[in-house]
Symmetry: C2
Subunit: 329 residues, 2 copies
């Protein structure tokens, strides 16, 4: 019997329909490789192919960069200008002011995030934090999203791995829903929903993939996608920008664990990786907590999902977690 499961934060339902397929091997589909470019704009030596560098992390004592941040050459939003909010008949309109940056996490064209040495990955996470922190100084902006598209099917258009940071002049509806949903839970139960999820998942164990003390890695109860995974911090904090470097070291550890297991379980699947942080100015909401979502792209979103926001997931999170736990360490 298929199951309907409701996400405790957003109240979104998922259909867990395990009769429709899908063992992990069913997802080992042909990848759509990105063409290997003649000249990679993100490789060392080609720095002139990107807009002016915003920031670079170099080894102590100097040398070539290890992490490099540049503006997106084809930005979805532009940093110059004012918002000019105005009507267009019955509609609402403003200029596309915002930031769109690219974080090149390694000079190596073929690197994978989870193969980076831990100190390098910590530098990467610190760079994410630095850029998000810097952008909140811009009074026109209200929210930023740090994300990573790995693989063509996940929306990557450049083969050389990179993250992106988009800062927006409005708080997206879906982000507000996460916060409002967390507050609804808090108002009702007088407890933080992230604490309750962690407590239940650690006790229950079926959807728990890893626990390193500071963070848990779980397959969420109402998973929308096969092998959807969340990294939840035990420490309360609403903004990723406020994490300590000590926390980032533990985050690097569990992120490496997660991406390595997904890579080996599903043969380097395309994935989207998202850091959910609260909007600028929301520094101390006791009901919300920053967290990380990793969505492997193994199924196609179709008419039903577009029309309803309901997701049909052919792999239960219990199966996904069991499979990821059983990948040899």
């Amino acid at each position: 019997m298929p199951e309907l499961r409701r996400d405790p934060i957003t109240h979104r339902w998922s259909i867990i329909a395990t009769e429709r397929a899908a063992r992990p091997k069913d997802f080992l589909v042909a990848k759509e490789p990105l063409p290997r470019p003649r000249v990679c704009p993100f490789c060392p030596g080609n720095e002139g192919a990107t807009p002016t560098e915003i920031l670079a992390v170099r080894p102590k004592g100097g040398g070539s960069w290890n992490v490099r941040v540049v503006p997106n050459k084809y930005p979805a939003l532009r940093i110059e200008g004012d918002l000019d909010r105005r009507p267009e008949g019955i509609y609402d309109h403003m200029n596309g002011v915002g930031a769109h940056e690219v974080i090149i996490e390694s000079p190596d064209h073929d690197f994978k995030l989870h193969k980076l040495p831990q100190p390098h990955l910590v530098k990467v996470l610190e760079t994410y934090r630095t850029r998000m922190t810097d952008l909140q100084g811009d009074k026109r902006l209200r929210f930023s999203l740090l994300f990573r598209n790995h693989g063509a099917l996940a929306g990557a258009s450049i083969q050389h791995g990179h993250a992106q940071l988009i800062a927006l002049p409005v708080v997206p509806k879906q982000v507000q829903e996460l916060i409002d949903g967390s507050k609804r839970y808090f108002d009702y139960h007088d407890r933080n929903v992230f604490d309750d999820i962690i407590r239940q998942e650690v006790q229950d164990g079926r959807r728990l993939i890893h626990d390193n003390g500071d963070f848990v890695l779980v397959a969420p109860y109402a998973s929308r996608f096969p092998f959807e995974t969340w990294i939840l911090p035990r420490a309360q904090g609403t903004r990723f920008e406020a994490t300590s470097t000590q926390q980032l070291e533990k985050l690097a550890e569990i992120l490496t664990f997660a991406l390595d297991r997904l890579d080996r379980a599903l043969d380097d699947p395309p994935y989207n990786f998202i850091i959910h942080s609260a909007p600028y100015g929301s520094d101390d909401l006791p009901w919300y907590r920053w967290h990380v979502v990793i969505n492997p792209v193994l199924t196609r979103v179709a008419g039903f999902e577009w029309g309803t926001g309901f997701y049909i997931n052919p792999t239960s999170p219990e199966e996904a977690a069991e499979f990821l736990r059983s990948v040899p360490g």
Copy 2:
């Protein structure tokens, strides 16, 4: 300069970033053809390969079927059983009770919806209406969605064209948002938002693709996707199930126009087609109106969209509408 545009119903924002590409020819990408099956379960003669027929439309005087409705062989939901709503610790859970039907709209393996003779297409739309009407008699169910996935990239898994009908025991959040958003507009302006959209689009003309008197075909102001199109009825009515056959004749006409133009402009693009109707029992909401959404699948949804619900659209609706109008008739 990119633009931020807000949808007047849901208050969702889209980024119209036309500098990032994208003329129609940029979307003429390689299709991913579905394998031609050895035995097609939807072709005449293979009726035994589907579960027991629910309904068939045959020509007057008898003969082979023209339209055929069967249960989905791999249903996302099952029609038997009770909901058994229950907690699972902090989570909410119920059985996946519902209907999942397939509407095979023509016996011809290679048919396209917009190439069907108009009387045949009217029969198809009547069949949609009949099945949606029939399912609302089931007291466990609250909402149904009629949708069509055309092409592998749009989620189709069987080559022979077909629509699907899923009836759910809950009203999806996203459907409730459409209704609540329409009500917010109505409460504020004391006018129906669909009337206001139609009025502005017809007067303005830039996003209007076709107008046949009963329906308008528009590229919506805050389009999420390149060549997103909406079919909006002029007559007030919240439920597709309550349409008259005379309305369906005019709907068939404009639907044919829309799909034919998209087919010729974009070389048979994959698309999702969705009929938005109100939940069961919501028969007379003055603020809401049933309507049709057609989303060609030309871009990939990636980390930014998943993390925010914001869409980055490289083709403005004005360009899309102009291009669709200019396809020779």
